[in-house]
């Protein structure tokens, strides 16, 4: 889970004129630029000071943020297991009221802290972020205790969906990033669980994850179009994780279950496609690329999930040609989508997306090499081929970058 920073809308026209957090590197860059602009008489010293006062130093991953996030997660898990222990020293109603009191306590504490920190010019306080995450996590204790008190059967996906929906409302009410990450992940888990409840074949699992990914990316892109970057990023990034995960599962040659569809899966696919179409139409070029990537990941996932072979992987030495072609195309598809996310990370100036794509690619190639390709062309050959393809792509991308720089220089001359 990401660190829990507090909200900071960034788009012009939607910004709060109060103080905004910036990383030390951003502040260092800003300081240098301000000095240059003043030296060139582009900016008065008063204006430079006013700009300076709008930003406060904040690190994304300080020790305090990491510890506070972990602490909030641990307390949340502790509350879940406290409910799970079914302490019969208290009546079910008393236990429920106790959980409601704990949850409301965290809600009030988070809000009081947020107001105080904003007044003192520290809107990016990690303590506020942790309290907001804790309030979102504590909500599950209320949901689970209500379910325990009324003996709702075990393994009920609706409870996760309700937790996700509650966390989502809370995240938007306080513009909290960490609760939003939690909410998006929970809603994705609920959807996949709901779909697999009707049929848990490979097709249903991977397609449900890919549909959830496309829907999440599309919602995130729509938020970007409105200038709500703080709430757009969790949707987009969790969506990217889901899209890459779905394609990863679909690319595996293992087949289990029949490719059944259920009403839930079809509704989910329909909703994802409508959201994607709206985001595609309303977005700019990069927005369309992002939605297109998730849509391509869904298309590849569906195709690969339907195109499966039942051969035992231990006997891959005698794989039929079709299975071999499928394995090669799976690698090509994953390479295309993961590379797309790496490029998108560069275009969006989002190092997290680039790192996600890189890690996904490394894990995918490694798993494919050991699980699938080892008996076919050997894992070494696969690494060599993928490595050469990536190097070639990098050289071409760098040539494009140099051409852009040259064109910019000519335009200036």
């Amino acid at each position: 889970m990401t660190a829990p920073p507090t909200a900071t809308p960034t788009a012009p026209g939607h910004r709060d004129p109060a103080v905004h957090p910036a990383t030390p590197a951003q502040l260092h860059w800003l300081e240098g630029e301000l000095a240059h602009w003043q030296a060139e008489s582009l900016l008065a010293p008063e204006a430079a000071q006013a700009i300076r006062e709008r930003y406060v130093a904040s690190r994304r991953f300080t020790l305090s943020r990491i510890v506070l996030t972990l602490g909030a997660c641990f307390v949340g898990l502790g509350l879940i297991w406290l409910v799970a222990s079914n302490l019969d020293a208290m009546s079910p109603l008393t236990r429920f009221l106790l959980m409601v009191a704990i949850w409301l306590g965290f809600v009030v504490a988070a809000e009081v802290l947020a107001v105080r920190r904003t007044r003192s010019g520290d809107p990016a306080s990690p303590v506020v972020g942790a309290m907001r995450l804790l309030a979102a996590a504590a909500f599950v204790a209320v949901v689970f205790q209500a379910a325990q008190s009324l003996q709702v059967p075990a393994y009920e996906p609706l409870l996760v969906g309700i937790w996700g929906l509650g966390a989502l409302l809370w995240a938007y009410a306080v513009r909290g990033v960490a609760p939003l990450v939690l909410a998006v992940a929970l809603l994705a888990v609920w959807f996949v669980w709901q779909v697999t409840g009707a049929g848990d074949g490979a097709f249903a699992v991977s397609t449900a994850i890919a549909a959830a990914g496309l829907a999440a990316v599309s919602v995130g892109v729509r938020h970007l179009v409105h200038g709500w970057r703080d709430v757009a990023d969790p949707w987009r990034e969790v969506g990217a994780v889901l899209a890459l995960l779905a394609l990863f599962i679909a690319a595996l040659p293992y087949a289990w279950g029949a490719p059944d569809t259920s009403v839930t899966l079809l509704v989910g696919l329909g909703v994802a496609i409508v959201l994607a179409a709206v985001a595609f139409v309303r977005g700019d070029r990069i927005d369309r690329l992002e939605v297109g990537l998730a849509a391509v990941a869904l298309a590849f996932t569906v195709c690969l999930s339907l195109w499966r072979f039942d051969e035992n992987l231990l006997d891959t030495a005698d794989l039929p040609t079709g299975a071999w072609v499928r394995a090669v195309l799976s690698v090509a598809a994953y390479l295309a989508v993961a590379s797309g996310y790496a490029v998108l990370g560069g275009m969006r100036d989002s190092s997290r997306l680039t790192w996600l794509a890189t890690v996904a690619l490394v894990v995918f190639v490694t798993v494919q090499a050991f699980a699938v390709f080892a008996p076919i062309v050997s894992g070494a050959a696969l690494f060599l081929i993928v490595g050469v393809v990536l190097l070639g792509t990098g050289v071409l991308a760098d040539r494009g970058r140099r051409r852009l720089v040259d064109e910019a220089k000519e335009a200036l001359v």
Partner: protein, 172 residues
Amino acid sequence: MSATTTRAVRVGAVVLAQLALVGVAVWAPLSARLTGETVVLRVEPVDPIDPFRGAYVQLAYPDLPEQAGQDDGTLTDEQREAVDEARGTAYVPLTRSGEVWVGGPVQRTPPADGLYLTCDDSSWQLECGIESWFLPQDEAAGLQDAIGGGTAVATVKVDAAGHAALVDVTTP
């Protein structure tokens, strides 16, 4: 209205909406508890595991049908396929038999009169919302053994829409 008041109203509205969501999560058993009639069903244990909700005894009901078509050894492939496609919401009429209640065959439409359970038979077993009895970990194994004798009964509340809530499990 000041910014702080607006914020407090917004958060208060969200808290109320979240509490309403809790009601949605437990609507069926809550409705059964508040408005339902009490029936007693014989139970037997299965096995208790849920890492996030704790110890429980998974209950089976020998006097309720397992699934539609489950007991018919004479169905053809086409008939079985039709039965499988019809799976989903299942209604089980309840009739009194001595001190306990027993379920009739699965129906696809709600019975016109009498008590019935609204269940779901799309998975491997008939699910009526009364399959789990949560209790402290140290008591779960003991109750499971006690229920294993085959004479335990479950007290269940059933409302007019067939929603059921498990109220108690007793062993003689």
